[in-house]
C-alpha cells in the first residue's frame, strides 16, 4: 500500500511562491474534493504561511507526485511551481516527514507549537470532509504519540522562542504569582496585542491599555478583558503597574527616567518589569540603573530566544529517534494491512476445500469414521497453513519494505487465485 505526498516549504521555495500556493481553510476544503476525485483515496492537506503539504493514499498505482503537483497548480492557477520547489515523500519517509513537521523540527522556529495546532486542524478538516480513513487516522495517532513522547522525554518545547514569550519568562523570574499583578500596555498595535494576549494567557491579574487613539485601546482592552486609561493620564499611574510593555511608533521617549524613579519610590521598592519593544524606543533605557527596575528591550530578550533555540536544536536528534521508533511501529502496522486479508483469504480457500471434500465422503463412511476424517482434515490443513501464516505474519511485522510485502502477498494470491474466492468471514489469526 502506498502513501505519498509533496511538501512546498521554506527550504524549497521563496516566500512569494509559498504565498501563491497557500490554501485558506475554504480552499483546503475545495482542494480536498479535487484530490478525492481521482488522486487520493484518503489523505490530508496542511497549509500555513511557511509550508503547504499534500499527502495521501493514491487512488491507483499510476498516481505519482506529478498528478498532485498538477492538480495543485491548476487549483491555485500557478505556473511556476516546478520539481525544484517541492520535496517528494513516499511511504515511511512520508510518515517521518509528517511527524517532523507536526512537532516543529522542520520549522523555522524549532519546536514551534503553532504548527502542531495547525496540523491538528488539518487532520480535523480531513475527518470532517470524509477524506480521512484508516491510514490517515493511524498516521495522525502516530504523530500524536511522537508528540507526547517528545514533550515527555526531550526538551524540544522548552523555553521561550519568541520575544514576547521571552519577556514572560523574565517576568516569571521576578514575580511569583502573576494573577496578583497588573500590566500596562502602551500602544494598541499588532505587537502590543500579541504581548497583551501572552500576558492574558499567563493569567495576569489585570491588563490596562493606553493609546493615543482611545478607540483602538478600547478595542484591544475588550479583546483581553482589560481596561483603558487615557493616554494623557497613564504617567501619573505608573506606580500601579508591575509590568509595563510599550510598543508605539512614537519618535521620542514616552516615559522618562524620572517617571520610573518616582513610581518605584511610591511602590516602596516593589519591582517593575519594563519591556520596550518599540523601535525607536519609548522608554528611556537609563531606567535600568534604578534599583528594582528590570528593563528589557528587543536585543536583551533576543538573548533568551537564541539560547532556547540552541537548546531545542540539541534536542532534535532525540526527537528524531522517537520519530523513527514510532514510524517503524506505524509501518509494521501499515504492512500488515496488505498481509492480513491475504492470510484470511488463504485460510478460507483451504477451509472451503476441506468442507467440499468432507461433504463428498460423508455418506460413504460411518459416522465414527467421518469424525476421525474430519479431525484429520482439520489437522492437515492446520499443518499445511502453519508455515505460510507464520511467515506472512513475520513479514508484516518485521519488514519495512512495502514492495517486498506486496510482491510476496501478490504471489500467494496469484498462485491460489485468492482474489476470486470470497472470505468465509472466519478470522483465525
Amino acid at each position: 500500500m502506498n502513501f505519498i505526498g509533496i511538501s512546498i516549504n521554506h527550504r524549497t521555495s521563496s516566500i512569494e511562491l509559498r504565498e501563491a500556493v497557500h490554501l485558506s481553510k475554504e480552499e483546503q476544503i475545495q482542494f480536498i474534493h479535487v484530490l478525492k476525485n481521482g488522486i487520493f483515496k484518503e489523505g490530508f492537506v496542511l497549509s500555513t504561511c511557511n509550508r503547504t503539504e499534500v499527502f495521501g493514499v493514491p487512488s491507483h498505482n499510476r498516481i505519482t507526485h506529478k498528478e498532485i503537483v498538477a492538480s495543485l497548480k491548476e487549483f491555485k492557477n500557478i505556473k511556476n511551481l516546478d520539481d525544484e520547489h517541492i520535496e517528494i515523500y513516499k511511504a515511511k519517509d512520508a510518515i517521518s516527514h509528517i511527524a517532523r513537521v507536526t512537532y516543529g523540527i522542520d520549522s523555522l522556529i524549532i519546536g514551534d507549537s503553532q504548527i502542531l495546532s495547525q496540523s491538528k486542524e488539518s487532520f480535523r478538516l480531513s475527518v470532517d470532509e470524509k477524506f480521512s480513513n484508516t491510514i490517515t487516522r493511524k498516521i495522525f495517532d502516530t504523530t500524536i504519540r511522537v508528540g507526547k513522547r517528545a514533550i515527555k522525554e526531550t526538551l524540544i518545547s522548552h523555553g521561550a522562542v519568541t520575544v514576547s514569550f521571552a519577556a514572560i519568562q523574565v517576568i516569571e523570574k521576578i514575580f511569583a504569582n502573576l494573577y496578583k499583578k497588573e500590566a500596562l500596555i502602551i500602544g494598541a498595535g499588532e505587537t502590543s496585542e500579541l504581548a497583551a494576549i501572552h500576558l492574558k494567557s499567563k493569567n495576569i491579574g489585570k491588563i490596562t491599555i493606553t493609546n493615543r487613539t482611545f478607540d483602538k485601546a478600547a478595542k484591544l482592552a475588550k479583546k483581553v478583558e482589560g481596561k483603558v486609561i487615557d493616554f494623557s493620564e497613564f504617567k501619573n499611574n505608573l506606580k500601579d503597574f508591575d509590568v509595563i510593555i510599550s510598543a508605539t511608533s512614537a519618535k521620542e521617549y514616552l516615559v522618562s527616567y524620572s517617571d520610573i524613579k518616582k513610581a518605584i519610590q511610591q511602590r516602596k521598592g516593589n519591582p517593575i518589569f519594563i519591556m520596550d519593544i518599540a523601535i525607536p524606543r519609548d522608554i528611556d533605557p537609563a531606567v535600568k540603573k534604578i534599583d528594582n527596575v528590570f528593563y528589557n528591550d528587543i536585543d536583551s530578550l533576543n538573548i533568551i530566544v537564541e539560547q532556547n533555540l540552541n537548546k531545542r536544536k540539541n534536542e532534535i536528534p532525540h526527537v528524531k529517534e522517537i520519530i523513527e521508533e514510532e514510524v517503524d511501529n506505524c509501518f509494521h502496522w501499515f504492512n500488515t494491512l496488505g498481509v492480513v486479508p491475504t492470510i484470511k483469504s488463504l485460510r478460507s480457500f483451504f477451509e472451503s476445500i476441506e468442507v467440499d471434500e468432507l461433504k463428498k465422503i460423508k455418506n460413504k463412511v460411518s459416522d465414527e469414521d467421518y469424525i476421525k476424517l474430519e479431525s484429520m482434515a482439520k489437522r492437515l490443513i492446520g499443518r499445511i497453513l502453519h508455515n505460510p501464516t507464520v511467515k506472512l505474519r513475520k513479514l508484516a511485522e518485521s519488514g519495512d519494505d512495502v514492495e517486498t510485502v506486496k510482491e510476496k502477498t501478490s504471489a500467494i494470491k496469484y498462485l491460489f487465485d485468492l482474489d476470486n474466492i470470497p472470505s468465509n468471514g472466519k478470522d483465525k489469526l
Binding site: L155, K173, F175, A176, K268, G269, P271, D291, N292, I303
Partner: protein, 274 residues
C-alpha cells in the same frame, strides 16, 4: 549502642555528601529524573541524624550540646531540618544545595573532632537547657537560611539586571519567592530565638544564682533579637520590598554573626560551658 553511635558518626558525613550531591546535580542539570528522590534522600539523612542525636542523649545521659562539636552536629541537623520544613511548606526544591553545603561542612567537622563525654556538670543535664539551646540553634539556622536566600536573591537580581540568562536564571525560583523565603526564614528564626530567650529567662536564675543580665553573651543575643525584631517590624509596617530589604536582612545577619563571635570568643561570660 556506643558502636552504633560511632558507626553513624562515620556514616553521617557521607549521607550529607550524597544528599548535597543529589541536590547540586539536580540544580546543575535540567530534567526531573531525581526531582522527587532528592527529598527522600534528605529525609533518610535527617532520620539517621535524629536517631544519632537520640542515641547520644541516651548513651551519655545529656543532650548533645555540651561541646563545640556536639553543637556542630546539632547545627547541621537543625539547618537541614529547617530547610526540609521550608521545602515541604513552599515546594521550592531547587535551592537545597546552597543550604545543605553548610550542614555538610558542620557535620564533617563534628564527625572528625567529636568525643564521647560521659562526665558533665549537672547543670548541663537539665532538659530545659536542651530545649533552650536547640531552639536557639534552630533560630540561628533560620537566620542562616535567610542569609542564603538573601544571597541567592542578589545573584538572581544581578543576573536579570545584567541580562545574563544562564544557570542561575534558569534554575532559581523567582525573586519574589526568594524574598518570601528569606522573610519566612527570618520569622521562623526570630520565633525560635524568642522561645530560647524565654526559656533562658526561666531556667537561668535557678541554674545560676549569681546571674547578671549585663553578661556579654546575653547582651549579644539581645542585640541579635533586636536587630531582627526591628527589621521584621519595619518590613511589615512600612510594607518594604526588594533589594533594600534583602540588604538590611544580610546586614542584620552579618551583625548578628559578628556580635556572636565577638562576645563568645573575646569576652568572658558565665554563659560558657566549654
Amino acid at each position: 549502642m556506643l558502636n552504633t553511635i560511632h558507626t553513624i558518626n562515620i556514616l553521617l558525613p557521607f549521607l550529607y555528601l550524597s544528599t548535597f550531591g543529589i541536590y547540586l546535580y539536580n540544580f546543575l542539570k535540567e530534567g526531573n529524573k531525581i526531582y522527587n528522590s532528592k527529598r527522600i534522600f534528605l529525609f533518610i539523612t535527617l532520620f539517621v541524624h535524629l536517631v544519632y542525636l537520640l542515641f547520644r542523649t541516651l548513651e551519655f545521659d545529656h543532650p548533645p550540646i555540651i561541646n563545640k562539636f556536639e553543637i556542630f552536629t546539632v547545627l547541621a541537623f537543625s539547618l537541614s531540618f529547617a530547610y526540609f520544613l521550608l521545602e515541604l511548606l513552599t515546594d521550592v526544591r531547587d535551592t537545597g544545595a546552597f543550604i545543605l553545603m553548610f550542614s555538610l561542612l558542620f557535620q564533617v567537622i563534628s564527625s572528625i573532632f567529636i568525643v564521647d563525654t560521659f562526665e558533665v556538670k549537672d547543670v548541663l543535664r537539665n532538659n530545659l537547657l536542651g530545649i533552650h539551646v536547640i531552639s536557639a540553634l534552630l533560630g540561628y539556622s533560620g537566620f542562616t537560611i535567610a542569609a542564603v536566600y538573601g544571597g541567592l536573591f542578589f545573584l538572581l537580581y544581578k543576573n536579570i539586571k545584567s541580562n545574563k540568562y544562564g544557570l542561575i536564571f534558569n534554575r532559581l525560583p523567582s525573586l519574589e519567592i526568594l524574598e518570601k523565603l528569606n522573610f519566612y526564614s527570618v520569622i521562623i528564626g526570630f520565633i525560635l530565638l524568642t522561645l530560647s530567650i524565654m526559656i533562658g529567662f526561666i531556667w537561668l536564675p535557678s541554674a545560676f544564682p549569681d546571674i547578671t543580665y549585663s553578661d556579654p553573651k546575653l547582651i549579644s543575643i539581645g542585640i541579635i533579637w533586636l536587630i531582627f525584631g526591628v527589621g521584621i517590624l519595619a518590613k511589615v509596617s512600612a510594607k518594604l520590598y526588594g533589594k533594600k530589604v534583602i540588604i538590611f536582612s544580610l546586614l542584620g545577619y552579618a551583625l548578628a554573626l559578628g556580635s556572636l563571635l565577638v562576645f563568645n570568643i573575646l569576652v568572658k561570660s558565665f554563659h560558657s560551658f566549654y
